[in-house]
């Protein structure tokens, strides 16, 4: 029993270390790229990369089963925020079709010491959170759209992330084919038939080259 709980309890670090490291990264990016949109894109991508790996951690620690509807998914996301960032967002504003909901944060640990200067008011400072949600859900075959609709940094009363279900990803890429997909730089899933064509094409090319 003791072993079980020590596995489930994750180690903790000071949240300020995370906040400040993230802040240093964002300000470095602002120096590296002239374009704010580019920074927004990079932050989202970084979040995505983290989410892709965090979901493993989450599943192994919580023994979660498959979610049958978006309400369950929302609960899991809420649980994950509690686990990883030690904040508990409220889930609300469900769309009638229950395919869209909001996560509302009273506090956001990422923005603890942060003030946005007027000239970067279009920066989505916490964009990494959206990326994380998108990345993690994609690994459990859910494609979602995720964006900020309110942000305390921009003077709103609370921080609100809107999560919208797009579709269930049916045809998961088999592991062996990942190399090819990264070649053509397609992040999302390519259906098997397309991949087969690609492989065939590559083979024909190889054959032609061999003949020459």
């Amino acid at each position: 029993m003791a072993r079980q709980s020590s596995r489930l309890e994750s180690k903790k670090v000071n949240s300020e270390l995370l906040t400040l490291t993230y802040g240093a990264l964002v300000s470095q990016m602002l120096r590296d790229f002239e374009n704010l949109e580019e920074v927004n894109k990079q932050l989202e991508r970084i979040g995505y990369n983290m989410g892709v790996r965090l979901i493993e951690d989450f599943l192994s620690r919580t023994n979660s089963g498959r979610c049958l509807d978006m309400r369950e998914t929302a609960d899991k996301i809420q649980q994950a925020f509690k686990m990883y960032l030690n904040v508990q967002p409220t889930i609300s504003n469900w769309a009638a079709a229950t395919d869209e909901f909001s996560l509302i944060f009273d506090v956001n640990p990422l923005t603890e010491f942060v003030e946005l200067p007027a000239d970067v008011s279009n920066l989505r400072y916490s964009g990494i959170l959206c990326g994380c949600i998108r990345g993690a859900l994609e690994m459990v075959q859910l494609e979602v759209q995720c964006q900020f609709v309110q942000d305390q940094l921009k003077g709103d009363a609370s921080t609100e992330i809107r999560v919208k279900f797009i579709r269930r990803l049916q045809d998961a890429t088999p592991a062996g084919v990942l190399i090819i997909t990264s070649f053509v730089d397609v992040h999302l899933l390519i259906s098997r038939s397309v991949l087969l064509c690609l492989t065939l094409l590559a083979n024909t090319y190889a054959a032609i080259i061999a003949q020459i």
Binding site: S15, L17, L18, T21, M50, S121
Partner: protein
């Protein structure tokens, strides 16, 4: 978005007590992304270390006031050894949850000190590829320490080395040790 709405300034809010905690996995993954991002912008290991060092300095310079106000009753240190002890104990404890293992003074050079840490938090989940053997991502922490010491009036260079785990070599400017001796004589 209306940017005219009244905002509470960050200085109007009370200072948090700094007890907030987040999951280590979360920080480890963020740090890994920091390293990967930095790597994508440079070609060589020294350049990468420089970038991590700079990021660390960014963090360090923001920690000074925070920790002196919160932990030391707003009193800065003037003695070199006290300052180093502050780094080894208070700073380390607040940031990483434990003190650094050792603080040593070099035998042959009184300007040089070593802070030794067996397993730095930032290196815990990083395996260094063979072709980048000299890379130590704890340069991030080295930068952090350098910024804290330098901005407190003890200019120095801090570098991270693979030795007994990770050793941070702190090399002060000449006048720092001279000034400290004068202070001692009074």
């Amino acid at each position: 978005m209306s940017s005219q709405r009244a905002r509470t300034s960050i200085l109007d809010k009370p200072l948090s007590r700094g007890k907030g905690e987040v999951s280590l996995s979360c920080f480890a993954l963020l740090f890994s992304e920091v390293v990967q991002y930095s790597q994508s912008r440079v070609y060589t290991v020294p350049e990468l270390q420089n970038r991590l060092h700079e990021l660390g300095m960014d963090v360090g310079s923001r920690l000074i006031d925070l920790y002196f106000v919160r932990e030391q009753n707003s009193k800065r240190e003037t003695k070199l050894i006290n300052m180093l002890l502050f780094v080894k104990t208070t700073l380390w404890k607040c940031l990483f949850g434990k003190e650094a293992e050792k603080l040593e003074h070099a035998n042959d050079d009184d300007r040089t000190y070593y802070i030794i840490e067996k397993e730095p938090l930032v290196n815990k989940f990083i395996s260094v590829p063979k072709d980048k053997g000299s890379l130590n991502c704890a340069t991030f922490t080295a930068g952090l320490v350098e910024a804290v010491l330098t901005n407190c009036g003890f200019p120095c260079k801090v570098t991270a080395h693979w030795h007994k785990g990770t050793t941070y070599m702190v090399k002060f400017d000449d006048f720092v040790t001279n000034r400290d001796k004068q202070l001692g004589e009074k």
